[in-house]
């Protein structure tokens, strides 16, 4: 048996359902899968049986056997009981998709030789090697980072992660005396409320603080871009969502309005009627009232959202609150507050360090990087060709311009919402040039959608469908409460069952795919990409291992590859958060992100009366699933500001129904919150026109 196991090792690769982090495991056969803790691969999902499946060695090959699991094991869309599995083939257990490759025994380098040489007790040595080998270590994923200067993505990932040099000799101490901060002679800002990040999360928190009564002078937000939606808007534009296209967001999720009313749907109806465009008004009304059963779900135009947020930013005095900078480190001070070191780029382009001292800090730094597929990253490094392989979040209009003129073959990787939108864009190009062919490559087919209780997610063309990036009940319904009340392990399980890559259930997208498949200009392939090569004619050759015995490997020649696999939010990629976790030994949540309480306070960071809160994608795996959505950021802001109100933090007053109404009336009139009279004429013409209100009547 030992010799059998020596002969056959398998390499399993899969990705985390929720975070998309790649995982790898090399192990000798047999390999068991199940929810039980003693399985080789423990899978935390209600759709995985305690003992679900096993990979065994048989006749020199690998056999996949289902252990009479409730929800089945799938190979190529078929539920199986026992099949031989060729190297490179994929299979699905619950919500997890695996790719199995057979590796020669000598590649099993997981056990360091020095360890094996030690005269350890036999069983102990075995268990140690087991431990080392079976730790499914996440692959070190390739990413594109944002340039600090321009905010754009840098085409090639830097070799070494940028080591930001911290002031005060590296800020080694966990508690820094305030006197030392001043002694450094670097500029110091003192404030009560400090938002680090400066994006939508910071904006939502600031908006709540302002509406709960805090004056703008007591809040500072540090971020790289002056507009709260600056980076988001740029990524939307790059991923082919221009101002007139619609976001994947609900009508009631209004980042500019904490009450969510009037919703974007109502505003669009109102605005269309004002312009005499009754056709659009009827169209929107049909979607708002018919969604999602009778018609597709209504989603707002990105331009309308940006305009509305600009108006609210003006109203709450964001231009007085925002400071240009990039957070580097946070430390507790000896007077029970926090000091945040940040880097500011001055007019001459030099980076200068500064400090901000505050009692309450909010961290919402967003996605630190964009994930790029390893094979594409390697291809880019080898050939320096960043034109033919692009990430969907990069500026890549040259692809569409070339295709419009010359036609060509484009490969899409990834199956999320961005892929759908890129296909729609390519379809628009194809309307004008019929020589465009789209090849969609998936790692594995999706035979069945995720399940939870009686409910199952729909699948069309191997893509799971869902109006938003999480089931709707995660925002405001029973699913939100269930997650909030669950413990760590249960949260991990629920997230695995509810998460996963999905795209919107849009009839127009489905029509495009159906037509393309019928006419042959849209093709779907399954398999793991082995490598990319450049051909003499400047095309990209993709080698794919399919895991099918009759055709183990195929190669596809394409003009362009568009990587639509998405964003990454591993904590290691964010210098400041990694430093904070290291310095204070913070515990992380099951998904390896910041552990926050149900009020979004960072666990382990309180000092004196000071508190640190966090929101956004860095808190995924905690009490809330939808942390990176507009409404999720607002919810996190609401909970943390209410928590601060209960602690009698300065300036905050409880928002009882009457005060809530009067604050809402101020929003309607575009008057700054909690001030008797407006300071600057109050009416913000652009925003009010967006609401269909005549600004002249609003002046006080």
């Amino acid at each position: 048996m030992q010799s059998d196991a020596q002969a056959l090792n398998v390499r399993l690769t899969w990705s985390d359902v929720v975070t998309g982090e790649g995982m790898e495991l090399i192990a000798p056969l047999p390999v068991t899968f199940g929810r039980a803790g003693d399985s080789t691969v423990t899978l935390n999902s209600n759709k995985v049986s305690r003992r679900h499946a096993v990979l065994r060695a048989q006749d020199g090959g690998v056999m996949l056997e289902d252990l009479q699991s409730t929800n089945g094991t799938y190979v190529n869309e078929n539920r199986i009981t026992r099949v031989p599995l060729p190297s490179g083939a994929g299979f699905q257990v619950g919500p997890f998709h695996f790719i199995m490759t057979v590796v020669p025994a000598q590649q099993q380098a997981s056990v360091p030789p020095s360890q094996a040489d030690q005269p350890l007790d036999r069983t102990e040595a075995y268990s140690q090697s087991l431990l080392r080998r079976f730790e499914g270590a996440p692959l070190n994923e390739s990413t594109l980072l944002f340039s600090h200067e321009s905010g754009n993505l840098m085409p090639v990932a830097p070799k070494e992660p940028e080591e930001a040099s911290l002031p005060l000799g590296g800020m080694r101490q966990p508690i820094i005396p305030l006197s030392e901060v001043y002694r450094s002679r670097l500029p110091v800002l003192e404030t009560t409320y400090l938002a680090v990040g400066g994006g939508i999360g910071s904006f939502a928190w600031t908006d709540h603080l302002r509406i709960y009564g805090v004056p703008a002078e007591q809040i500072i937000a540090i971020g790289p871009e002056p507009a709260p939606m600056g980076r988001y808007q740029r990524l939307c534009g790059n991923s082919q969502i221009p101002l007139h296209e619609r976001l994947r967001s609900n009508s009631d999720s209004c980042p500019d309005n904490i009450w969510g009313w009037p919703s974007y749907g109502l505003r669009e109806i109102w605005h269309s009627i004002g312009q005499g465009d009754f056709g659009n008004a009827m169209h929107v009304a049909k979607h708002v009232f018919g969604e999602p059963v009778l018609t597709d779900t209504y989603t707002p135009r990105s331009g309308d959202v940006f305009k509305a947020v600009d108006r609210e930013a003006f109203r709450i005095g964001w231009n007085h609150i925002w400071r240009q900078g990039r957070g580097l480190a946070i430390r507790k001070t000896d007077d029970g507050r926090y000091v945040v070191a940040y880097a500011q780029t001055n007019e001459r382009g030099q980076t200068v360090h500064q400090f901000a001292v505050a009692r309450y800090v909010h961290l919402a730094m967003g996605y630190p990087a964009i994930r790029i597929l390893d094979d594409i990253d390697e291809y880019r490094k080898c050939t320096q060709d960043v034109k033919h392989t692009v990430n969907a979040y990069e500026e890549h209009n040259h692809v569409y311009e070339y295709l419009l003129k010359h036609g060509g073959v484009v490969m899409i990787r990834g199956r999320g919402i961005v892929a759908s939108r890129v296909i729609q864009r390519l379809y628009e190009v194809r309307q004008q040039n019929k020589n465009v062919v789209i090849i969609h490559v998936h790692r594995s087919p999706v035979p069945v959608g995720h399940q939870d209780g009686h409910a199952r997610r729909r699948v069309i063309n191997h893509v799971e469908l869902q109006p938003f990036n999480w089931p709707k009940g995660c925002w405001t319904g029973s699913m939100r409460l269930r997650l909030e009340r669950a413990d760590d392990q249960e949260r991990d399980r629920l997230l695995n069952d509810w998460g996963g890559t999905t795209t919107a259930d849009r009839k127009d997208w489905q029509r495009i795919a159906e037509r393309g498949l019928r006419e042959g200009w849209y093709q779907i392939y399954f398999g793991e990409v082995k490598r990319l090569e450049r051909t003499d004619r400047g095309q990209v050759l993709t080698q794919i291992s399919t895991g099918k015995p009759n055709q183990p490997e195929i190669s596809l020649k394409t003009d362009y590859i568009i990587d639509c696999t998405g964003l990454t939010a591993s904590i290691d990629k964010n210098f400041m958060l990694k430093d904070m976790v290291d310095c204070y030994h913070l515990r992380l949540n099951p998904k390896g992100r910041l552990r926050v309480t149900n009020d979004f306070e960072v666990d382990g960071m309180s000092t004196g009366s000071g508190r640190v809160y966090a929101s956004g994608v860095m808190t995924l795996g905690g009490p809330h699933a939808v942390v990176d959505s507009f409404l999720g950021l607002q919810y996190a802001a609401l909970r943390s500001v209410e928590d601060l109100t209960r602690q009698h933090a300065p300036g905050l007053h409880l928002l009882n129904p009457l005060r809530s109404f009067s604050q809402w009336m101020r929003w309607v009139r575009c008057v700054p919150p909690d001030r008797g009279t407006s300071t600057s004429g109050a009416a913000y013409a652009g925003g009010l026109q967006g609401l269909g209100v005549n600004p002249d009547h609003q002046r006080r």
């Binding site: 006197s179 404030t191 009450w259 059963v293 925002w475 409460l481 992380l588 099951p590 666990d603 609401l638």
Partner: protein
């Protein structure tokens, strides 16, 4: 808003108890008979409690656990029709005389329409938390299981004089952004470690009392203290406002 069962019941109780009663009283005033409209309202409420159980069951079959507007409209029609049919039988207690269909339609229709409009938005203007809680006003905020709000001492690696470098020797292979310091007992796909770490070598609170830490203030230029009228001391030179209460710093502060 995607309501929970308790949310549905609370919405029903609250809105029928306010809007419903007011409209029913108005109808009663016109009919000069308060009994019939109020008992009709009571039946709508009582049957509604049962209907909500069915609605919640339907919701559980929907992947998104939502309650689309079209369902809401259909439910309103079905509910009203059932109550009126039962009234037509004449066997409902306290309502001996069947109200004319038009009267019932006006009463029920007005109540339903008002509630529908309120639920679509205006409710949130008064109750900010309401929509996030699945329509519940009253909600039990149970403490999170296995979680302590005030930070407990956390197992930390060997801690030597402000050097926070992780000890190199016994550290297991870095797994999935997981900063726990003990080797995981078994691999779990989501890189989540279920079992508690073994007995730590050093216990250090992650929230040390600043007063107990040795200060290193010798030779530092003295910070000019400023004591605000709220009693909070801060640096005079930094900022124009008191960081505690936000009042502007005044010249006559205590030095």
């Amino acid at each position: 808003m995607t309501p929970t069962l308790l949310g549905r019941w609370q919405i029903r109780l609250f809105l029928l108890g306010t809007v419903g009663v007011i409209i029913s009283l108005a109808v009663g005033l016109i009919l000069k008979d308060f009994g019939t409209p109020l008992f009709v309202l009571l039946y709508v409420f009582l049957f509604g409690i049962l209907w909500d159980l069915l609605y919640q069951l339907i919701t559980s079959f929907r992947w998104d656990r939502d309650w689309p507007t079209s369902f809401q409209v259909a439910a309103g029609i079905v509910e009203g029709a059932l109550v009126f049919l039962l009234l037509l039988t004449g066997k409902m207690p306290f309502v001996p005389n069947v109200p004319p269909f038009l009267v019932f339609l006006i009463q029920y229709g007005l109540i339903w329409l008002t509630i529908f409009v309120l639920l679509q938005g205006p409710m949130r203007i008064f109750f900010l938390n309401w929509r996030y809680q699945g329509g519940q006003w009253l909600i039990s905020r149970k403490p999170q299981p296995g979680y302590s709000f005030q930070q407990q001492p956390v197992a930390a690696p060997q801690f030597a004089g402000g050097n926070y470098q992780q000890p190199a020797a016994p550290a297991p292979q870095f797994a999935g952004g997981n900063y726990q310091q003990s080797p995981p007992p078994a691999f779990v796909a989501s890189n989540y470690q279920q079992q508690a770490a073994p007995a730590p070598q050093v216990i250090r609170s992650s929230n040390p009392d600043p007063r107990q830490l040795p200060g290193n203030a010798a030779g530092t230029p003295a910070v000019q203290p400023y004591v605000c009228s709220c009693g909070f001391a801060s640096d005079r030179a930094a900022g124009k406002f008191c960081p505690q209460c936000g009042k502007p710093k005044v010249q006559q502060g205590i030095t």
